[in-house]
Amino acid sequence: MAVNVQPLRASQPTAVLTVDTRESFALLHVGLSLTESANRALTEAFAHAVERSPSWCYVVFGGAPALRIEPPRDSTVPVALRPREVATVASVSATLVEETLRAHGFDVRIVSRAHEVRA
C-alpha cells in the first residue's frame, strides 16, 4: 500500500513579547507554545532579566509566562521619576528576553514597546 508521507516542515518557533507599561509597574508577557525546549529558553530568558534587575523584576506565577517590573518597596528612586525608571527597566528586560529567545532560535515579535502615559 502506498503511503503518502509528508516531510515535517522545520518551521521556526515564534514568540510574541508584549510590554505593558503602566504608571507604577510594567508587565512583560511572552506568548509562545510551551514545548520542553521553549520552556528551557524561557527560563533562561527570565533568569537573565531577573539577574539584570533583581530587586525590580520578578516572575509572575500562574497564567501565561510573564515578568512584573516595579520599584522595590524601599526604592530610593524619587516617586516622580519612578514611571520613567519602570519604563527603562521594562525596556531593558524586554531586550534581554528577546535576545535570549532569538539565541534559542525563536522568531521574536514585539507587540508593544515601553511607553509613558500622557494626557
Binding site: 508584549t18 505593558d20 503602566r22 504608571e23 507604577s24 509597574f25 516595579e70 520599584p71 518597596r73 516617586v79 516622580a80 521619576l81 519612578r82 514611571p83 507587540v111 508593544s112 514597546r113 511607553h115 509613558e116 502615559v117 500622557r118 494626557a119
Partner: protein, 144 residues
C-alpha cells in the same frame, strides 16, 4: 454598592493588603482616593467604573507602591502628583477620547499609548482595562 465596595468585591486580595499595611490609614487613604475618582467621573459625566479601572490599571491606587500620579497623568513631561487633579484630568481626557473614538477599548488604547483611536499597541491595555471596568460595573449592579 459603592465603587470602593466593588473594588473590594472583585479583588479579594485587596482587603487583606489594606488590613496588613504598615500605614494604619491605608484603608482610609484608599477610600479617599476612590471618592476622588467618583467625584471626578461625575463632574465629567464619565462612568465611575471606567475611571476607576484606568486608575487601578495605572497605579493599583497606591495600595502596593507609591505612585507619581494617581491615574498616570502626565502634562508637559511632569506627572501630576495631586490626586484630585490627576483624577479630574483623567476623567476629562477619557470623556473627550470616548467622544472621539466611539468605544471604550479604543479610547483607553489611545489614553495609554496615544496615536490614533484603537492604537494597536494599546488595544491589549484597552481591552484588559475595559474588562476590569465591566467587572466593577457588574459588582456595582450598573450596566457596563
Amino acid at each position: 454598592m459603592t465603587l470602593a465596595d466593588a473594588f473590594l468585591a472583585i479583588f479579594p486580595h485587596l482587603a487583606p493588603e489594606l488590613a496588613a499595611h504598615a500605614d494604619v490609614n491605608a484603608r482610609d487613604l484608599f477610600l479617599h482616593r476612590v471618592a476622588l475618582i467618583e467625584r471626578a467621573a461625575a463632574t465629567h459625566s464619565v462612568p465611575a467604573h471606567v475611571v476607576g479601572a484606568v486608575c487601578w490599571s495605572e497605579t493599583r491606587l497606591g495600595v502596593w507602591r507609591a505612585y507619581a500620579s494617581l491615574c498616570g497623568v502626565r502634562l508637559n513631561h511632569v506627572y501630576i502628583a495631586d490626586d484630585t487633579r490627576s483624577a479630574d484630568i483623567a476623567a476629562r481626557t477619557l470623556a473627550h477620547l470616548h467622544t472621539q473614538c466611539g468605544t471604550w477599548p479604543r479610547a483607553l488604547a489611545r489614553y495609554r499609548y496615544g496615536g490614533a483611536c484603537g492604537n494597536a499597541a494599546g488595544m491589549g491595555y484597552g481591552l484588559r482595562t475595559h474588562g476590569t471596568a465591566g467587572r466593577l460595573a457588574r459588582a456595582q449592579g450598573v450596566s457596563p
